[in-house]
């Protein structure tokens, strides 16, 4: 599992939990933040575009109304009776006409007043007499007027390189006698008023080969940047786009104004940075929320990880204690938990109790039988049955024990026996044998079962010799009120070894002729003529090999066996082997 993330090798479960939690939460926070931020920004931009579009409509309405006013003023002027008379009588009197026209021009505050003949010739131009008699320079106005119901035309156009709002009305005296054209120059004052109304930057642009600013509310450096930008990459009409002017970014909308499309246009601009600043507050709030969320996530992740890792660590410690044999109960806080950790703690506790129980049983078993038998029993699951083995059986007995036990108080007898058996048991164990059973004052030991030992005969002989020496030592210490003597019989034979008894109650032992023979040999040690306390059979001697000093004792008949058994008295080890 660790291979999946080779770079992040967390050695602890806690570390991994924290890592996974934080990665997920961080990813979630980041995605949420980005989505919300992007959505809000897009919304902001759409709002700005929408406001700009509205501003444009406001501008167009204001501009229409303004020029309609100019139109109406021009119409009133055209109906002036005095002018009609002047037209009728002084048409061939240029000075009179020109002065009168200047007068009427000033009545409405126009920049110029041109009288145009029906043949589209300039009759009189109030500003430039050189134009008199030449073809009228705005014939498109006349075309529109001729096609209109009311015979009027109006719009924005360029004249002499400047933008003007122009109106053309018929001079009806009383029928169409000429055209009256009034022009109103567009300058900064006009756009400033419009900019104030709509709350944005307004510029009037004219295009004759290249874009030029006719009027603007922008500052000088920005207007220079604007001209350069427009001539570099022309803006599409009626579509909001972003322009960088110096340090500020503007959302810009360009729309044509003129009669002749595209030559005069108005540019509405809103400062994008100023507009977006409103949404900065939201952005910072989002960042704040994300960071706070992240901090909370970190704390939560660590705490959750700890609450999961701690009980696991406690259980691990308990396991280690159990391994060392300490079955004492640990603190029960985890046991109370209703979750999986609680279940684990409960199961662990039961397991510990079970182990403790098993240990006690094994201990007990080891005390009742030797540890080797106990292990064998546990290993074989205490099934009934046996197998043929070649083993050496050793029987030992205390002589005249009944007589001695009559003479001594019971407690002393028990003490003596326990001391005797303890010592003898140690010796048997030390030589790798197992004490099969104690029968009163007798002791039956096995060598070569249940644990397989090829030198079981030699071990039995060595044990017997040491047992004799130990008893001598005990006697020297006056462990009993009287000197006690023992007799040992040892025989090697093939026997059946295994768990004998009933399923409810059984023990590990051996049966066969060999066992009887060993027991018989042991009782033969009572015979004075043999004068020995250890009688071994020929079979044992042969199995044990050289190194033992013996005295042949001839043959003996064993009860229940037809053939006699060759027996020997065991005297000790021969000098040749001589090791202890």
């Amino acid at each position: 599992m660790m291979r999946r993330l080779p770079r992040f090798r967390f050695r602890t479960v806690r570390g991994r939990l924290v890592g996974v939690f934080l990665s997920l939460l961080f990813a979630l926070q980041a995605v949420t933040f980005l989505l919300v931020f992007r959505a809000s920004r897009n919304h902001a931009l759409r709002q700005i575009d929408a406001r700009l579009a509205i501003s444009l409509r406001i501008f167009q309405t204001i501009e229409k109304q303004r020029i309609r006013e100019l139109n109406e003023q021009a119409r009133l002027l055209a109906y002036d009776y005095g002018f009609k008379q002047a037209f009728g009588t002084s048409i061939n009197d240029p000075p009179t006409m020109r002065l009168a026209m200047k007068n009427w021009r000033d009545r409405v505050g126009a920049s110029f007043f041109v009288l145009v003949s029906l043949e589209r010739k300039t009759l009189f131009d109030s500003e430039n007499s050189a134009r008199d008699g030449t073809p009228f320079d705005l014939p498109e106005l006349v075309t529109v007027a001729e096609g209109a119901d009311d015979g009027e035309a109006r719009g924005l156009t360029l004249r002499d390189g400047n933008p003007y709002a122009v109106v053309l009305v018929p001079l009806l005296a009383p029928d169409l006698a000429a055209w009256i054209c009034l022009g109103f120059r567009i300058d900064d004052a006009f756009v400033r008023e419009l900019g104030a109304v709509t709350g944005q930057a307004v510029s009037i642009l004219q295009h004759e080969g290249a874009w030029k600013l006719a009027a603007t509310t922008l500052e000088a450096d920005e207007s220079a940047a604007l001209t350069a930008a427009l001539n570099r990459t022309p803006l599409a009409f009626d579509r909001a786009s972003h322009l960088q002017l110096g340090r500020a970014r503007y959302v810009s909308l360009l729309t044509p104004l003129a009669l002749n499309n595209g030559r005069v246009a108005v540019l509405l601009q809103r400062n994008l940075d100023v507009e977006l600043a409103q949404y900065d507050g939201l952005k910072f709030a989002l960042i704040g929320v994300a960071l706070a969320g992240l901090a909370i996530s970190v704390v939560a992740a660590f705490r959750i990880a700890r609450s999961l890792a701690q009980p696991v660590l406690r259980l691990a410690q308990d396991a280690r204690r159990v391994e060392l044999g300490d079955y004492s109960a640990h603190d029960g806080a985890d046991l109370e938990r209703p979750d999986e950790i609680g279940q684990l703690a409960q199961s662990f506790q039961k397991m510990t109790a079970g182990l403790a129980e098993r240990d006690r049983v094994r201990d007990l078993l080891g005390k009742v039988a030797s540890p080797a038998i106990a292990t064998e029993l546990l290993r074989r699951e205490a099934a009934l049955g046996g197998e043929e083995r070649c083993v050496t059986v050793l029987f030992s007995d205390l002589r005249d024990f009944s007589a001695i036990s009559e003479r001594l108080p019971a407690s002393e007898v028990v003490a003596m026996l326990n001391a005797y058996f303890s010592r003898m048991g140690e010796i048997v164990d030390a030589h790798g044998g197992v004490v099969d059973k104690y029968i009163g004052d007798a002791l039956m030991a096995l060598f070569g079962a249940p644990v397989n030992q090829p030198d079981h005969a030699a071990r039995a002989l060595d044990a017997a010799l040491e047992m004799g020496a130990a008893l001598d030592a005990l006697n020297a210490q006056s462990f009993a009120a009287e000197i006690v003597q023992l007799g040992i019989g040892i025989h090697t034979d093939i026997v059946i070894a295994g768990n004998m008894g009933s399923p409810a109650r059984h023990n590990y032992t051996v049966i066969g002729d060999g066992v009887n023979i060993a027991s018989r040999l042991q009782s033969l040690t009572r015979r004075a003529e043999y004068d020995t306390r250890v009688i071994v059979s020929e079979a044992t001697l042969r199995a044990a090999g050289p190194g033992y000093e013996t005295r042949p004792l001839g043959e003996a008949f064993v009860k229940g066996k037809a053939q006699p058994v060759t027996i020997h008295a065991l005297l000790g080890r021969s000098a040749a082997t001589g090791n202890d």
Binding site: Q65, R68, Y79, Y81, K84, Q85, F87, G88, T89, E146, D149, D150, G151, P170, L172, A173, P174, D175, L176, A177
Partner: protein
């Protein structure tokens, strides 16, 4: 008997008087009303028979809309309305200025120059009338059917011309010739007309609102 004989030349003239029937259509073939058709004899001079004419203010309109008269005609402009009118013209053929008046002016106006005289009222922008002053006494107006009849013409060749308030170009470009003889001479004109616009009279209440 002498009296009867005196009538003879008249009768002769009457019996011998010719007619020109003119049909005036526009470029799409529709009949044109208010067109002045006038015939000038090619040989000799036209007789001088100026008849006094009247262009009246009636129901805040000039009646008739178009009048054709011979040079030297006296025209009066009586005001038949209850409100005063201010009639004027700045046409070179006859400039005049009759400030607000009621009733009939004492002196009629003499129209002694050929040409078109456009008459208006200074305080009623929609009022408009035309007087077509021509050299010849033979003139007639077309009706809604676009037809005009010139009567009492001595036999001979005539130059027939036409004028209409919305005529595009000069009458001289529409000149035709006709021969007056026994039967009525037929003349047809196809005029090119300008689209005309006139100030509307008293638009319906509620049309003009604050904007």
């Amino acid at each position: 008997m002498v009296r009867a004989l005196a009538v003879l030349p008249l009768l002769a003239t009457a019996v011998c008087a010719g007619e020109i029937v003119a049909e005036v259509k526009d470029s799409r073939g529709a009949p044109v009303a208010d067109a002045v058709v006038y015939a000038t004899p090619l040989s000799g001079k036209a007789p001088q028979r100026p008849q006094p004419a009247v262009v009246a203010h009636q129901n805040q309109q000039f009646v008739p809309f178009v009048t054709a008269v011979q040079v030297g005609t006296l025209i009066n402009l009586p005001n038949r309305d209850t409100v005063k009118h201010h009639a004027y013209s700045i046409s070179p053929a006859r400039k005049f200025d009759l400030p607000l008046y009621a009733g009939t002016p004492q002196a009629p106006l003499l129209f002694d120059k050929p040409g078109i005289v456009t008459i208006g009222c200074n305080i009623h922008d929609w009022m408009l009338a035309y007087v077509c002053v021509v050299e010849t006494p033979f003139s007639a107006l077309t009706g809604a059917d676009g037809r005009a009849q010139l009567r009492g013409l001595a036999p001979g060749a005539y130059r027939v011309e036409v004028w209409q308030p919305r005529l595009k170009g000069q009458p001289s470009s529409y000149t035709q010739q006709a021969s007056v003889g026994g039967a009525a001479a037929q003349v047809a004109f196809a005029l090119e007309l300008k689209p005309g616009f006139r100030p509307r009279r008293n638009p319906a209440a509620g049309d003009a609102t604050y904007r």
